[in-house]
């Protein structure tokens, strides 16, 4: 009698195990399915609209042919400026956390706050920059958009820089100190070089992150239907144009939105794949 109870218990455990395994496989296929589905739809809808005109012509009024030249250039300019502002601050801050204040109390506070900023809602960053730049200046501007993006870049770069510098072996630091090299020179000449690939990865990830950001640009850089490189005025950007065109009732605008979405996605995926390759090549060497 006990024998049969045991065997039924055993069967139940084996059955539960099989069910769990099937469910786990199903969950994984489900997760991957969305990736395939989203990318598939994106390629299907975006690829048809891809032509030379997209890269050479301005955004059109509804019903006319046109391209995405001004938002593409606008996005490039905003991104470059944001990286130029945000990266030095991020690298220096990460340097302080890893090299000077590694065990200080203030560093753990900064680390904590930085981690929160890393995942804080980006629309709040937009409101912040609106309050401190757009409202005092009296108008929307490309500068405000870039600063908003820079605020998103900084935490990403701080985090990766600190992590990468922490991975640099202490023996290198000790060797530098033993020949009398001041700390600043040790950091710049030795630690930065050793952590170069990792820091670059962080910058690439930050670029990937901001190239699709829409929310912080909505009320900082706003949008511009026309060709403009004046950063003191509203500047068009790809995500904001996608937002506007996708929600419009015009079929040709919606088509351009899909094409823009495809361009952004390819850019972002290429950046993150490059970053990943760079990170793993840095690890193995």
């Amino acid at each position: 009698m006990p024998h049969s109870i045991n065997s039924s218990l055993y069967a139940a455990r084996r059955r539960n195990n099989s069910i769990a395994k099937v469910l786990a496989l199903a969950a994984t296929l489900f997760g991957l399915g969305w990736l395939v589905l989203i990318l598939g739809v994106l390629l299907w809808n975006g690829f048809g609209g891809l032509s030379l005109a997209v890269f050479t012509e301005m955004t059109p009024p509804p019903g006319q042919a046109g391209g995405l030249l001004n938002p593409i250039i606008g996005s490039l300019v905003l991104t470059v400026l944001a990286v130029v502002i945000g990266t030095p601050i991020g690298i220096l801050a990460g340097t302080y956390l890893a090299e000077y204040g590694r065990h200080e109390k203030i560093s753990s506070v900064i680390r904590f706050i930085n981690d929160i900023l890393l995942s804080a809602p980006s629309i709040v960053v937009g409101l912040f920059i609106y309050e401190v730049m757009v409202a005092p200046m009296g108008h929307f501007s490309g500068y405000a958009g870039s600063v908003a993006l820079a605020v998103i870049v900084i935490p990403v770069v701080v985090r990766t820089t600190e992590d990468m510098l922490t991975l640099v072996p202490n023996a290198l630091r000790e060797a530098a100190a033993s020949i009398g090299l001041p700390r600043a020179y040790m950091v710049i000449r030795i630690a930065y070089r050793a952590a170069r690939a990792g820091i670059l990865t962080g910058i690439l990830l930050a670029i990937a992150r901001i190239s699709g950001e829409t929310a912080p640009l909505l009320f900082t850089a706003l949008n511009n239907q026309f060709w403009s490189l004046d950063l003191n005025a509203p500047v068009a950007s790809l995500p904001v144009v996608i937002f506007q065109f996708a929600l419009s009732p015009y079929a040709d605008w919606q088509r351009l939105a899909w094409t823009g979405a495809l361009i952004i996605t390819i850019t972002v995926l290429a950046l993150s794949v490059t970053a990943r390759a760079l990170a793993s090549s840095g690890k193995s060497s």
Partner: protein
């Protein structure tokens, strides 16, 4: 770092400190200069590090200052009032707060079990050669910008929901009391449920990748011991891995929740922007971030703008608390691993 036969590193240091090697004998001066350079660099990095705190302080102060007019006009009623009328300038945050919480809650309800199962598959079941590719694919899903989820949700997912899923839900739950009110009304396609599902897809990779990391940190000897007494793979996961990794998993879930609460673009496209608290999940609604994104540039008048900034303040407070808890939990597990 130094090629053999080149100048010694100390000379390089001197050179970059702005002096030639010939001056080197003047040690005191050289050392003073080096120390000065060192100090300047230290102060600059410290300043940059403090900039992180300044940004946070700036966000908080600017949001508070910006929302003062609205909070003065509506006081404590603001978070609990459902009215949102730009004409009479009566604003309340109840509908957006409700929408934010409900969409995020449903999203987590779906994404947490699935994310954990994917992590279970990746750490315990998946053949070794497939682990890295699948993990990378899941993380690519995390890298797709939210506006892509938005446009996809609007043109592909919402029509699918309208044609297939929502009529089915109405048909199945329509006659069951309680549930029928959750799935009441016409199938619009857009709405609270659609937004929640898209959020679920978005946070799934975050939960998966953090859970995978903490599952992998479980000491193999614990799992081996469990296998040794005859546990099945599922029992090992359920009774050993999951309890051990509990704190980290909760941290990861909170991190995903923080993302879901603040997510803007994916939701803005498909929520319908209706300032209404509806019992039905099929009805259009709004979230804090969607309201701000939709209305901020069109807001006329100080009170309207200020109310939107006050919404931003509420969102920031909610996400700050959630993210702070997440980080504290994750820090605890990091300490244990490290």
């Amino acid at each position: 770092m130094q090629p053999a036969g080149g100048p010694p590193v100390t000379d390089l240091a001197l050179r970059s400190a702005g002096m030639s090697v010939a001056e080197a004998p003047d040690r005191a001066r050289v050392l003073a200069k080096l120390r000065q350079g060192d100090n300047i660099f230290r102060l600059v990095t410290r300043g940059a590090a403090l900039a992180v705190l300044v940004i946070l302080g700036g966000v908080i102060v600017s949001l508070i200052v910006g929302s003062i007019p609205a909070l003065k006009a509506f006081g404590l009623e603001f978070p609990f009032s459902q009215s949102w009328n730009p004409v009479t300038e009566k604003f309340g945050a109840l509908a957006p707060i409700y929408g934010t919480l409900v969409t995020s809650f449903i999203a987590m309800l779906i994404a947490v079990p699935i994310g954990l199962m994917v992590a279970f598959f990746l750490t315990e079941l998946c053949p070794m050669i497939l682990r890295r590719p699948i993990a990378i694919a899941i993380e690519l899903l995390a890298g797709i910008p939210s506006i892509i989820y938005g446009i996809w949700g609007l043109f592909v997912f919402a029509p699918f929901m309208q044609d297939h899923v929502q009529p089915l839900l109405i048909a199945v739950f329509g006659n069951i009391p309680l549930l029928s009110s959750l799935f009441a009304g016409p199938p619009y396609g857009i709405g609270v449920l659609t937004s929640a599902l898209i959020l679920a897809i978005m946070v799934l990779p975050f939960i998966t990748s953090i859970s995978r990391d903490v599952f992998e940190a479980v000491p193999p000897v614990l799992k081996e011991a469990a296998y040794g007494i005859g546990c099945t793979t599922w029992e090992v996961f359920r009774k050993v891995v999951l309890p051990y990794a509990r704190v980290g998993v909760i941290g990861g879930v909170m991190l995903g929740l923080g993302r879901a609460l603040g997510e803007t673009m994916a939701v803005t496209f498909v929520i319908g922007n209706a300032h209404k608290v509806s019992a039905s999940l099929l009805a259009p609604g709004t979230t804090i971030s969607a309201t701000i994104a939709n209305e901020f540039t069109e807001a006329v008048g100080e009170l309207y703008t200020s109310s939107l900034i006050a919404l931003g303040l509420i969102l920031f407070i909610i996400t700050f608390i959630v993210l702070a808890i997440a980080r504290l939990l994750l820090a605890r597990i990091e300490k244990r691993i490290g």
